[in-house]
């Protein structure tokens, strides 16, 4: 394999992994930016997305339906959770949220195990994307190209939504100053439910998309939550663009680190995070230290 082919395939692959990481990171950062909640259940909701996706795909025979349905259902579940439980805690200390979202992670994890069992389940990708394309004579899975494409589409959609849509404007207003937005007649409670739901739905989208690569398994929550936090810390808690940059950085560090220095690949991710924190304690695009 030529060096060029290697660089090309690994770069595209790093982009596909960054897309998966981005879905996790952006949901986490949106929720934190608006609500100042560190959502410990994010990994569990990502896993829930994969399992709900499995069931929808098994029932309907269509991966595409799973891709649309799982984020929607998990998003509704997230909004419902905010509406019934989180809403009661806004006057309390921040550690109440840590406890409650951590509790949600445990409950979701156990509920998934009881419902779907403890064995990993196969989620086949769509047949149309099961082939390979040849990049400089090297086979590369079409599905990973699709991940890059959907990553770009979702990133642009979220960006345009936050910048252009009325709800996006209200979200930005509420995240800058909730009291002022409230005084101006914005339904802050509704905004919070929406954002929590959207964040959870994005995690579920990541879960469904990752399932053909790693299968739907009980262990998937634990392995992604750390990556998600690292991305958000690097990018700056609450920053949309920050989560995108964080996801790209970690995606590339993981893929190239695993190729060139597999023994230290795990350490690289944390070294990047440390370097960012030393230089900019609030993260690359964090508003304040």
């Amino acid at each position: 394999m030529s060096t060029l082919a290697l660089l090309l395939t690994q770069t595209v692959n790093a982009l596909s992994q960054s897309a998966l990481l981005f879905f996790l990171g952006v949901g986490l950062t949106l929720i934190f930016g608006l609500m100042r909640i560190v959502n410990f259940a994010h990994g569990a909701l990502y896993m829930l997305g994969a399992f709900v996706g499995y069931s929808i795909a098994a029932w309907s025979g269509s991966f595409w339906l799973a891709l649309a349905g799982a984020p929607l259902l998990v998003g509704l579940f997230g909004a419902g959770f905010e509406l019934t439980i989180l809403r009661r805690l806004y006057r309390r200390d921040a550690h109440a949220f840590l406890m409650v979202t951590f509790g949600l992670a445990l409950v979701v994890g156990e509920a998934v195990r009881l419902t779907w069992g403890s064995d990993a389940l196969q989620v086949a990708g769509p047949p149309a994307l099961s082939g390979v394309v040849f990049m400089l004579d090297e086979p590369f899975p079409v599905y990973r190209l699709f991940l890059v494409a959907i990553g770009v589409v979702v990133a642009v959609a979220i960006w345009q939504f936050l910048e252009r849509a009325r709800l996006g404007l209200l979200i930005r207003a509420t995240s800058q100053n909730a009291d002022m937005a409230n005084a101006l007649g914005v339904d802050v409670k509704m905004i919070r439910s929406c954002v929590f739901g959207i964040g959870c739905g994005l995690a579920a989208l990541g879960g469904v998309l990752a399932a053909p690569l790693v299968t739907a398994s009980n262990g998937m929550a634990a392995t992604v939550i750390i990556d998600a936090f690292v991305i958000v810390i690097i990018g700056g808690m609450g920053s949309f663009l920050g989560s995108l940059i964080g996801a790209l950085l970690i995606g590339f560090v993981q893929v190239f680190g695993n190729y060139y220095a597999p023994d230290f690949a795990l350490a690289f991710m944390y070294l990047v995070m440390l370097a960012v924190l030393v230089m900019r304690p609030g993260g690359l695009l964090g508003k304040e230290a």
Partner: protein, 410 residues
């Protein structure tokens, strides 16, 4: 954003809870005394990795032991005493495992331990066994050191070890026309141990070992590893993988069309993985610690009973753990009790006929000598997913290393 300001109270609160918990654990177990162990239920401590990346493996050891306990209790237990399994989750963490095992011994009167999932956990527990005056019988732990450098008298291994599985693969390969091999293992005790043994075996067999690489457990993207394997020019890659990592690797290897160029060999073929990856497992050749397709009267009987209970076939570690429980059962019956001083000599040189044929627990290093199996994953009529079919067996004296060793002379 007021990150640090917001986190301070929570950290303090957490610390308080943590300290209170630690104080509770550190309190001396004045109430637990050993004499009770001679009557009453036979308590078996199982600190199992029920969650985490190897959670599906731990769930198998749990089910294997539970099924045995259920059937045995229906027959009146052992020596007229009922069997009670004390099961706790370790999440696959060796420090957790030692702590949970210690609680089971000191507070809950367990004198028998089994079901530990990871070799790293087993290696952390064995140095404590003498102090605990307890017997640990491994149902699935593969690391060769457990019966070699790290061997302790209260440890027994009823299962096929990692080196034994690897040996079966290498004996099989000596007859094949493949000449260049690569190794991919999980980056912990078992992965390094088995890849090392395989490398020696390949070299002993006068073939070429072209490289190895280790992936941390919980790796989600295997493409850098797949690329390395492809670049190595090897005819086959030997995998020492399990759980979620194994599933991720097999799924992605198929997506990259790796099996068209490089044959996939594995130390362990297990059903959970085959079900999880479907056709991506076809053609996989490997040793099997246990396969429900092995034709033996006791196995056929076991498979039928299992199918009736769980409506599915017993998986690798369910069969392995079951065999360990049968060995333990035979040992306790022969010893007439569960005290380490009686049970240890009873288990030494015991021979049990079980689901994989004869197992002989040799006295010198407490390894169960048993035959090795090679299987190939194939499609079979009447089964929804591919199944591992036995393609070769090797007698125990060829697959088991010399006493307290984990490498082979030839």
């Amino acid at each position: 954003m007021h990150m640090s300001g917001q986190f301070r109270p929570s950290r303090r609160a957490m610390l308080k809870v943590g300290l209170a918990g630690a104080a509770g654990l550190a309190a001396p177990a004045i109430l637990s005394t050993s004499p009770r162990a001679e009557s009453g239920p036979i308590k078996i401590g199982m600190p199992v990795a029920l969650t985490g990346p190897l959670g599906s493996v731990g769930q198998q050891t749990k089910r294997g032991a539970e099924f045995w306990a259920k059937l045995q209790n229906a027959k009146g237990g052992i020596l007229g005493r009922p069997i009670e399994l004390v099961i706790e989750d370790t999440a696959g963490n060796p420090a957790n495992c030692v702590r949970k095992a210690q609680e089971m011994v000191e507070r809950r009167d367990c004198r028998l331990i089994t079901g530990i999932t990871l070799s790293s956990e087993a290696l952390a527990v064995v140095p404590k066994l003498t102090e605990w005056d307890s017997i640990f019988i491994s149902g699935i732990n593969g690391d060769g050191r457990l019966t070699a450098d790290s061997f302790v008298p209260n440890f027994f291994r009823a299962n096929i070890s990692g080196p034994m599985g690897t040996r079966a693969v290498s004996l099989y390969l000596r007859k094949s026309n493949m000449t260049k091999f690569y190794g991919l293992g999980l980056d912990y005790a078992w992965g390094h141990n088995s890849i090392g043994v395989f490398e020696d075996e390949v070299k002993n067999g006068k073939k070429e070992f072209v490289g190895k690489i280790f992936a941390p457990t919980g790796t989600k993207d295997y493409s850098p590893y797949i690329t390395k394997i492809r670049q190595s020019g090897a005819d086959a890659v030997f995998l020492v993988m399990q759980g979620d990592d194994n599933n991720a690797f097999l799924s992605q290897a198929q997506q990259y069309r790796l099996p068209e160029k490089v044959k996939l060999l594995t130390e362990i073929v297990d059903l959970a993985s085959i079900r999880a990856v479907g056709d991506a497992s076809l053609g996989l050749i490997g040793s099997s610690r246990y396969s429900f397709t092995y034709d033996h009267p006791l196995n056929n009987e076991f498979v039928a009973a299992w199918k009736k209970e769980y409506n599915t076939y017993p998986d690798t570690f369910e069969g392995e753990q079951w065999q360990a429980m049968k060995v333990l059962e035979a040992g306790i019956t022969k010893a007439g009790g569960i005290e380490a001083a009686k049970l240890r000599p009873a288990l030494e040189d015991i021979e049990v006929e079980s689901v994989k044929g004869k197992v002989f627990i040799r006295k010198c290093d407490h390894q169960g000598v048993q035959q090795g199996f090679m299987v190939e994953v194939k499609k079979k009529a009447g089964f929804e997913t591919p199944v591992p079919e036995v393609i070769a067996t090797f007698p125990g004296d060829q697959t088991t290393p010399d006493c307290n060793k984990m490498a082979y002379k030839d």
